[in-house]
């Protein structure tokens, strides 16, 4: 792509990244969550992919590494569910809510200001799903783009 597109992508990419991470991190307080934020970050990565071309992107990060990240995100998610089994004796138990420790504050009922330290395991799950969705969506886009641009397809 031309220099204009690349420069624009360079400028926009950090903002997209930060916005996506914000949406992931505040999933338990504001609209959004792991899936939505992950999709935003992945679209930011796709922007770079479009601007610089898939061979360049493929040199930067391999699809196998992204797939590993995706596996790790999924394992993290299911591990949190298993921790619920261990600590609150039920699969998918929300063992952190009301415990007073990390993310363990219970908000006052009714309209409240946002308190980041709430939600129990929800922020952790949001984070795991976020990692998973970023890697998953981006690897799909990357593999498809690389396959359509490579020589054997002509």
């Amino acid at each position: 792509m031309t220099k204009i597109v690349r420069t624009t992508a360079n400028i926009l990419f950090p903002f997209t990244l930060i916005f996506g991470l914000y949406v992931i991190a505040h999933g338990h307080l504001t609209p959004g969550g792991g899936f939505q934020g992950g999709a935003i970050v992945a679209s930011g990565c796709a922007l770079l992919l479009v601007a610089y071309g898939s061979p360049w992107m493929f040199n930067c990060i391999k699809d196998t590494r992204l797939a590993t990240f995706e596996s790790l995100g999924a394992i993290g998610f299911i591990t949190i569910a298993f921790l619920g089994l261990v600590f609150s004796a039920v699969f998918f138990g929300n063992f952190l809510t009301g415990s007073g420790s990390l993310f363990g504050t219970t908000p006052a009922t009714g309209s409240t200001l946002s308190d980041f330290n709430t939600g129990g395991v929800l922020p952790l799950m949001n984070f795991a799903v976020g990692v998973k969705v970023i890697a998953g969506l981006f690897v799909i886009v990357l593999v498809m783009a690389y396959a359509s641009s490579s020589k054997e397809w002509d």
Binding site: S71, I75, I78, F82, L85, V90, F91, F92
Partner: protein
């Protein structure tokens, strides 16, 4: 609380979580070594089978079990997802685990030269998970989620041989049919949600009023799940994908197909269980209408399956059409038991239908594995290109003979018991149907005798002089299925009494299913 009790208490969750976690871990494990990956997949499936067996022994002796995700107790209203495991669900789960383990053993040799096996085993475990989830879940939206997992993962597996255009075509056809079907299932779920504000199957069954919208939802659910199960007018994807997927995968896709069939049973017998006897116009009860529609479609399935199988030359595709006919027999039995609800032969028909689910899995699975073994040693699909294999492939020939007799319903093999129960009960409903069903079986026998002569007996072709017997793990997989076929054929009553009759009575007894949830509030 002993550890065994704790495992039993959490086994519904562990049955899903174990194969799921191993599917997530498999891409990492396969980095170590290919052998480790193969063994890991089998061991994790073995662990899952242990949980299924543990749960089965409890459910069969102590009645249904529920498991709530994320909370200890039930409370009004039911906001959480819960699993409700009864004898029928656990029977299907046992079939799924059997097919999965045999498929993995078979794949060891069958695919050892192929690439992408880490993805293959991952997707295999995911389809198994989804089939188990569909069979154990007590929440209708959760059912839809597992339906979609099975649709996506099996579509990718059908396209495993990407260099063949036909495999891609079959996979595309499969995903179009099953995703449209799944979207309509979601639409029906939306209709339920709009009326009753509930997603739990037992709650829905308790609240169901059979309004006009419920009738629409029933039609949509029957059509879309029937599509996924391979019922007649929308069966086209089935021979395509069964014929083009690797035969080890066919076993796995079959378990997903049977899970969709189980979905139909669950919808008709449980969700609509309370209203089956209400009357429509002209004082026709609902169950008669549903039953006869299913019977009509089943007869069409049997006829199409058998007639199309007669003219096939591609062996795998031929067996695919035979599978359509077998699904027709299952629907025939279920349709009979619904149409004649309340009579004594309805129960017999249901026993036959439920047993035939297992027999269909064993017989068609065995035939596919044999066809896969032929493809493995000769690399040929068409019946015109293979001949005289019996000299070099003695074991495979014996296994094919067993599969042939079983699928045609010959004593003393397993197909005989279930088909006999089906003929017997259908005869009491309408003798003509029974004759058509019998005729279908005879034609199936003819089809497979033709295959036996063409592929195994017949003159030896020069280019097939030095074919070898299939590798050991493939023989082991076929031998296991053949052993099941013979055992069930010899001791049908043992299986009928321990598994089939409890499963059938669990289906009939929707009041117990509902009271497990509603009564516990």
């Amino acid at each position: 609380m002993t550890i065994l009790e704790a495992l039993l208490q959490h086994s519904p969750a562990l049955i899903i979580a174990t194969p799921l976690l191993s599917a997530f871990l498999l891409p990492l494990v396969s980095r170590i070594h290919a052998k480790v990956r193969d063994v890991f997949a089998l061991v994790m499936l073995g662990v899952t089978s242990c949980f299924v067996g543990l749960l089965a022994s409890d459910v069969l002796s102590h009645g249904p079990r529920i498991y709530i995700f994320g909370a200890q107790n039930l409370h009004v209203p039911l906001v959480r997802i819960l699993f409700e495991v009864d004898s029928m669900g656990i029977f299907m789960a046992l079939i799924t685990m059997m097919l999965a383990i045999i498929a993995v053993i078979y794949s060891w040799s069958f695919l050892h030269q192929e690439d992408g096996l880490d993805k293959y085993y991952t997707l295999l475990l995911l389809v198994v998970t989804s089939a188990l989830g569909m069979e154990l879940t007590g929440d209708i939206f959760n059912f839809f989620v597992f339906l979609e997992i099975s649709c996506i993962a099996s579509c990718a597996l059908i396209a495993f041989w990407v260099t063949e255009g036909e495999a891609l075509e079959a996979a595309f056809k499969y995903i179009v049919v099953s995703s449209v079907g799944a979207l309509f299932v979601l639409f029906a779920i939306g209709i339920f949600y709009a009326q009753y504000n509930a997603l739990n199957i037992a709650t829905l069954a308790h609240l169901l009023q059979f309004t006009f919208l419920d009738k629409i939802a029933l039609v949509i659910l029957l059509v879309s799940l029937g599509m996924k199960a391979g019922l007649a007018p929308m069966h086209m994807w089935l021979p395509d994908s069964y014929g083009r997927a690797p035969p080890s995968i066919v076993l796995i896709i079959m378990s997903a197909t049977l899970a969709s069939f189980y979905g139909i049973l669950r919808v008709v017998f449980t969700v609509y269980g309370n209203v089956l006897t209400t009357s429509l116009r002209f004082s026709l009860p609902v169950h008669v209408v549903i039953g006869w529609i299913l019977i009509a479609l089943a007869i069409v399935s049997i006829l199409i399956g058998v007639i199309m199988a007669l003219i096939q030359t591609d062996l795998l595709r031929l067996i695919g059409y035979a599978a359509v006919a077998e699904i027709g027999y299952m629907f025939l039995a279920i349709g009979t038991s619904i149409a004649a609800l309340g009579t004594s032969y309805a129960t017999v028909a249901l026993h036959g239908g439920v047993l035939h689910i297992l027999n269909d899995a064993i017989d068609i699975g065995l035939l596919f594995l044999v066809a896969g073994a032929i493809y493995y040693v000769t690399k040929k699909r068409s019946l015109d290109d293979i001949s005289g294999l019996a000299r070099n492939m003695k074991f495979t020939t014996v296994f094919f003979l067993i599969g042939l007799l079983a699928v045609a319903g010959m004593p003393p093999l397993n197909g005989f018991t279930s088909k006999f129960l089906i003929y017997e009960s259908v005869y009491q409903l309408n003798p003509i149907l029974s004759i058509i069903a019998l005729l279908g079986s005879i034609l199936l026998l003819a089809v497979f005798i033709k295959v036996l002569y063409a592929a195994f007996l017949g003159p030896e072709l020069p280019e097939l002089q030095d074919v070898k017997e299939a590798p050991k793990s493939m023989l082991l997989a076929m031998g296991l299925l053949a052993g099941f076929a013979i055992c069930i054929g010899l001791f049908p009553n043992l299986l009928l009494d321990t598994l089939v009759k409890p499963a059938a009575s669990a289906l009939m007894d929707h009041a117990q299913y509902i009271s497990m949830v509603i009564g516990g509030l």
